[in-house]
C-alpha cells in the first residue's frame, strides 16, 4: 500500500486551485522509517507527504486543533479514521463543506515489528466511508470478529481478571494522552478532570486512574471506532483497546447495532433504543 505519489498530486492540485488552506497528512519522522502527522500550509512542502502502511495515526484528531478549526482542510483518512470523521460530522464538530477528504481503501497498517496491527486484522470497514476522492480498490465490508484479547480474558476466572486489570490501572500515570489523541474526545472541559480535582484532590492513584479510564471508555461506548490512536499515544503502553472492544462487542451482540460511524447521521448505540433490547439481566 503506497499512495505517496497520488496524495502529493492531490495536495498540490488543491493548493493551486485554492481549495484548501491546510493539508493534513503524514511525513517521515526523519530518523527512522516511522511517520509523524504533518500540517502543510505552504504548497512547496507537499513533497514531504507520504502514505504507506506505516501511516498509523488517525489524522481526524487534528481537526480539533486551532490550526485547522474554521479553515478549509484537506486530509487523508483510512477506513477507521473515516468512521471517526463521520461521527465528528454527525456531532457537528466539523463542517463537511470545509473539508476535502482523500479516502483510502486500507489494506492494513503495520506496527514497529512489521506485523499487521490486530485492529486491522479484525477490521470490518477497511474502505473510507467519507471521501471526496477514493484511492485504491474497495474490498467491501468484512464479517465482525470478537477481539482475540477480549475472548482470552473473558475465559479466565474472575480473580485473574481482577489482578490483571489492577496492574493495568496501576500503571496509568494520568497523563491524559489517550484523551487528547482520541478524535472523539473533543470536549473543551473534560468532566473527568473536574471529578479528579474534587474526588481525588488531583492525586494520581490507581483508584483515580480506574475512575478516569472507566468513565472515559463509557463516554466512548458506541462511538469508539477502534483506530487505536489512544493506545499508540499511551506512554505506559496500556491495553486500552480492551475496554473499548469489550463495550463494542456487548453493543454489537446485544443490540444488533452496526459499528460506530459507519452510517452517516447515526449517533451511536446510546442515542436510540429498541423494544427488543435484552431485559433478562434486570429483576
Amino acid at each position: 500500500m503506497n499512495y505517496t505519489k497520488q496524495i502529493q498530486d492531490i495536495a498540490a492540485k488543491l493548493f493551486t486551485e485554492g481549495k484548501i488552506d491546510v493539508f493534513v497528512g503524514y511525513r517521515m519522522n526523519g530518523f527512522d522509517d516511522n511517520q509523524v502527522p504533518v500540517l502543510i500550509t505552504d504548497p512547496q512542502d507537499v513533497s514531504k507527504l507520504v502514505f504507506t502502511d506505516k501511516s498509523v495515526f488517525n489524522l481526524v484528531n487534528y481537526l480539533k486543533t486551532d490550526h485547522t478549526r474554521r479553515k478549509r482542510v484537506g486530509l487523508v483518512v483510512k477506513g477507521c479514521d473515516s468512521r471517526s470523521l463521520n461521527l465528528m460530522l454527525t456531532e457537528s464538530q466539523v463542517k463537511r463543506e470545509n473539508l476535502y477528504v482523500v479516502g483510502i481503501c486500507c489494506e492494513g497498517i503495520v506496527d514497529d515489528s512489521g506485523h499487521k496491527m490486530q485492529n486491522c486484522v479484525e477490521c470490518v470497514v477497511p474502505d473510507a466511508v467519507v471521501s471526496d476522492e477514493l484511492l485504491g480498490t474497495p474490498s467491501g465490508q468484512k464479517p465482525y470478529m470478537v477481539n482475540v484479547d477480549i475472548a482470552a480474558l473473558a475465559a479466565k476466572p474472575l480473580t485473574e481478571r481482577t489482578a490483571y486489570f489492577e496492574e493495568v490501572f496501576e500503571n496509568c500515570i494520568r497523563c491524559n494522552a489517550c484523551r487528547h489523541s482520541c478524535p472523539l474526545c473533543y470536549c473543551a472541559k473534560c468532566c473527568i478532570d473536574q471529578e479528579t480535582a474534587t474526588l481525588y484532590n488531583g492525586a494520581n492513584t490507581t483508584s483515580a486512574a480506574f475512575h478516569a479510564l472507566m468513565t472515559w471508555s463509557l463516554h466512548l461506548a458506541g462511538r469508539c471506532v477502534d483506530c487505536r490512536n489512544c493506545e499508540k499515544a499511551c506512554p505506559s503502553h496500556l491495553p486500552l483497546h480492551l475496554l473499548h472492544k469489550q463495550n463494542e462487542s456487548v453493543i454489537y451482540e446485544n443490540f444488533q447495532e452496526h459499528l460506530a460511524g459507519v452510517i452517516p447521521e447515526d449517533r451511536g448505540a446510546f442515542y436510540k433504543y429498541s423494544l427488543k433490547d435484552p431485559d433478562d439481566f434486570i429483576m
Partner: protein
C-alpha cells in the same frame, strides 16, 4: 463437645482478604422518583421488613443514572449497587428507561470484565404498586452481596496517603 466451624467470609475478587466479624454490606440503591421510590415508600407504609443495608438515593428517572454513579459508589463506600426504575413502557418520561437499559447492560458487562463480580451490580424494575416486590428484591440483592464479601477494588481511601 461440638464446635461449629464457620467458613470465613472472603472477598470474592481477592480471596486473600477476609471480612471482619459481623461484617454487613453497604448497598447503594438508586431509585427513580416515579415508580421505584414510590414502591419503596409503599413497602415502608405497608410495614414490610427489608434489610437496612440499602442506602437509597432518589433520581428523577432511571435514565438519569449515569454509569458514573455506579463507578463512584463502588469506589467509595458501597459493596454493591442496585438501580431500579419503572417497568418498560411505564416510564414517566415515556422512553427514559429504554435508553437506560442499554447503558446498564454495557456498564454491568464492563465492570464484570475488569474484575467485579456480576452480582455486585444489580438492576430491577419496580412499579409504585409493587411494595412486596421491592422488599423481595432488596432481600435477594443483600443476600447475594453478603455472599461475595466486602469489596476491596479501587477503593478511594485505600490509595490515599494518611
Amino acid at each position: 463437645m461440638e464446635t461449629e466451624v464457620k467458613d470465613q467470609l472472603v472477598s470474592i475478587e481477592k480471596p486473600e482478604l477476609v471480612a471482619p466479624p459481623n461484617w454487613e454490606p453497604v448497598i447503594m440503591g438508586i431509585l427513580c422518583n416515579w415508580c421505584s421510590y414510590a414502591g419503596s415508600d409503599l413497602t415502608g407504609t405497608s410495614r414490610i421488613q427489608y434489610p437496612p443495608n440499602i442506602r437509597i438515593i432518589r433520581v428523577p428517572c432511571s435514565s438519569r443514572v449515569d454509569p458514573w454513579f455506579l463507578i463512584k459508589s463502588l469506589q467509595t463506600t458501597a459493596d454493591g449497587v442496585l438501580v431500579s426504575g419503572c417497568h418498560p413502557g411505564d416510564c414517566h418520561y415515556i422512553t427514559g428507561n429504554y435508553y437506560a437499559r442499554r447503558r446498564f447492560l454495557v456498564t454491568k458487562k464492563l465492570l464484570n470484565f475488569v474484575g467485579f463480580h456480576e452480582n455486585r451490580i444489580q438492576f430491577s424494575w419496580v412499579s409504585a404498586a409493587e411494595g412486596p416486590k421491592f422488599a423481595k428484591v432488596v432481600n435477594k440483592v443483600t443476600e447475594e452481596i453478603k455472599k461475595l464479601g466486602p469489596l476491596h477494588l479501587y477503593k478511594k481511601e485505600n490509595f490515599e496517603k494518611k
